[in-house]
């Protein structure tokens, strides 16, 4: 089964990219592939991840270990469950520092204090255990942990899901500030488009493991090209707008085990025509700086069918 297929994007230094889509559309899988952290039953079958001229898919396990956390780090989904409950947070943040930077414990402790203050937690709280923190605070700890080794890219996987609106705003503000201060590149994964509207320069919309549309945030939100993006943008209630029920996209997310033929979105698409069921559109430029995978736009090529790869576990 192809959980993620035909995903392609680029990220400049200091840029924030939003990866949006419904649950089960492959956002997290994409993120984990970037760090080569896929579980044992997952595999990158083909493709390349170019990071500073190096293809991360091809480098050895030993090398990728050096890159992980030091160059690319991740804020895992679900701050509630990602921290080890039996170790205090200072130890947990210090762990990657000691592993990667070959520093002694005192220096690591010092760095932990700096990191905690960076994310707005008193440095004296490093001896506290995860259960002593609230949800928002734990998320801050996760962010401190991701920043432990001064990475270049931080992947934030649903950093504000399950948090209150106010805490959500606090965390987003913090991420935004850190990005500016530390010149980070960031990949923000979320199912909530409105979170991206305010933080990311670029967004990529995913559906059914495929990329539907990539472009500048403002453009994508104001003039969505792909019917799925149009549906998503229309599905958000706007508190500053009219009191009308937002539009919905009828139907359910397709199963990835048995994906629909042709374009994955065609069973829910109101513009679908015969070509959509027969062939799969590739991600192509539809207007300058904007790529979409939809046959509604002339010049969108078909995906050349790939021979089915059979993997032995």
């Amino acid at each position: 089964m192809h959980a993620v297929d035909g995903v392609s994007f680029d990220l400049d230094e200091g840029e924030a990219l939003g990866l949006a889509g419904e649950s089960g559309c492959g956002k997290t899988t994409t993120a984990l592939s970037l760090m080569r952290l896929l579980p044992y039953n997952g595999k990158i079958v083909s493709g390349s991840i170019l990071f500073r001229g190096r293809d991360l898919v091809k480098v050895s396990d030993l090398r990728i270990r050096k890159i992980r956390w030091k160059e690319i780090s991740i804020i895992f989904q679900g701050a509630m469950n990602s921290l080890n409950p039996v170790r205090n947070i200072g130890q947990q943040i210090a762990e990657p520092i000691i592993l990667h930077e070959k520093v002694d414990e005192d220096e690591a402790t010092n760095r932990v204090g700096e990191l905690l203050e960076l994310v707005g937690i008193n440095r004296d709280r490093r001896r506290d255990f995860p259960h002593e923190f609230s949800g928002g605070m734990r998320q801050r700890v996760m962010i401190a942990m991701a920043l432990a080794c001064n990475p270049k890219i931080v992947i934030a996987d649903e950093p504000v899901t399950a948090l209150d609106v106010m805490i959500q705003a606090q965390i987003l503000e913090l991420l935004e500030r850190l990005r500016k201060e530390l010149h980070l590149s960031m990949i923000l994964i979320s199912h909530d488009l409105s979170v991206m509207a305010e933080t990311c320069e670029k967004v990529a919309i995913m559906y059914g493991g495929k990329m539907m549309e990539v472009g500048k945030t403002v453009d994508v939100f104001t003039d969505p090209k792909h019917p799925y993006t149009q549906g998503l943008v229309a599905a958000f209630p706007d508190i500053r707008g009219q009191r009308t029920m937002p539009a919905s996209i009828p139907g359910d997310v397709p199963s990835l085990i048995n994906p629909p033929s042709g374009c994955v979105f065609h069973p829910r698409c109101k513009f679908a025509f015969d070509r959509c069921t027969a062939a799969e559109p590739a991600l192509a430029e539809v207007t300058p700086g904007r790529r979409a995978a939809c046959f509604l736009y002339p010049g969108v090529p078909e995906v050349t069918p790939r021979p089915m790869t059979v993997e032995a576990r």
């Binding site: 609230s134 209150d164 609106v165 705003a169 599905a235 706007d238 508190i239």
Partner: protein, 568 residues
Amino acid sequence: MRAVDGVSFDVKRGEVFCLVGESGCGKTTTGKALLRLVDATEGDVFFELPTEEYRRYEELRAGRAPDAAARIDAIRRKYSFSWTEQLAWDTRQILFWLGAVAAAFVLGVGLPALAAAGIPGALVNTGFILGASLLCGLLLGVIGSLPPTRPSARTPTVLALLSILAFNLFPIVAALGWPATLPGAPFDAPGIWATVWGASSFAMLLGVIVAPIAAGAASKIVLARRRETEGLLGVKMRTLRRRLHLIFQDPYESLNPKQSVFEIVSEPLVVNKIAHDPEEIAALVARSLEDAGLRPASEFVFRFPHELSGGQRQRVSIAAALALEPDFIVADEPVSMLDVSIRTEILQLMMDLREKRGLTYLFITHDLGLAWILADRIAVMYLGKIVEQGTAEQVISHPKHPYTQALISVVPSPDPRHLVKRTILKGERPDAVNIPSGCRFHPRCPVAFERCGWSADEVAEELTSLSSGGRLPGIIGIEAQDSRAVTLRMAPGVSAGVAAATLRQIVSENRDSRLALKGVAEIRESGDAIQVTLQSWAEPPLIELGPGNAVACHLVTPPAEAVPAVTA
């Protein structure tokens, strides 16, 4: 700890009422208290309260009529389902019923005994036995239905059956009590029983018929009386549960994975004895499922929750809630776990059902955007209190309370062109165990001022932070003395006068950046220390700005005459 305190609102028939607030502010607790899934310690939940009764209730509460308490209780007894005094039935009423039993005793036993004095022979036994059966029946029927028992629809039947047993045990108990009746014979319970049945089998047979009839009838009469006086309680609450329903937050957790869709939806029908006939149940289940948008129903009934998508699961939850045709539904974050593209469909479905079945919703959500599109009226809660209440336009478009304003400002806008200035509150909501004094919101409020309830601890903390920043030279000890005063001690050799003057200046300079300093009323030197007294404060009452629109904030001035504040 009070999770919810002083919350009062009314939901009109056919309305969507939204409770909005951060997690832990007591929204869900309020919702559950409404359905009596948790019992409120005090206060009332009225259901189907006629408007004139409600007006009377309000008048009685506001006025000082001498018999107000009793009259309020009369209304509460009738319409409130958090009326908890049902267990303490009036002693007078209990005495009345026991008197009735005594009368029955006289009729049942006394009359045959009287007759026995006149007519000798077999009839005496018959009379005694019939009297005993009547006595057993009435005693059981009355006592078994009086408080503190919690009656159900089955109570009379159970009591009738029990009375047969009691009647059969009666001769044995009698023999135990008066062994003289069987002189010399060893006590032998089955023997006594057999003797009595053998000696007067016709009378015993009659007794077996009379006792359950008496018990059932007495129980029914007492229960009918209770229902009248206790209003919604006891017997009626169970039937009321059919009309009030809950849709849970998480469709992945709230459905039993071992039950099929059919079992989930039919369970309320079976439990509440709405239908017995399997075909009828199947038809009702199919109808609920189709109403909830699972068409054709036949395709879904035999599926299990893991075979459904998130949206379909939530539809099953809705179908189960609809099966009993409720009037009032508490929807606790029904779409927060669903994907955006599915969310609208579920909301649309809920709104369609409101039209179709005349439902009333209490919608609990943390998402102001949802409240905006759905609600007729909104109440914003903070730490267990309502801070603002009004129609959706009033609350969302013209928020008055600083908390509501901040909440609205942080709702992300899906349109990147409309960036608004966000007011991000500091910190997190305080623990409900340790509620701030005065206005609960003041420690996080961006516009808090003197009257909002600064406590000595907060002021001392702010002064300590100034002092540790080196802004208060010569002061070495800062201590909250009691709730209204802070004592500052000086380093040796520093004069109190000079230190107090510096302090005054620092406080007045930093009042706007460190709001807690606004709580300082007076700085005065007393001997070798400086005494800081705090402003007096008051908890802001919910001020009525118009019909149905109320705000609890000191910054809001009531429209006409000043409402007296509750001073602490």
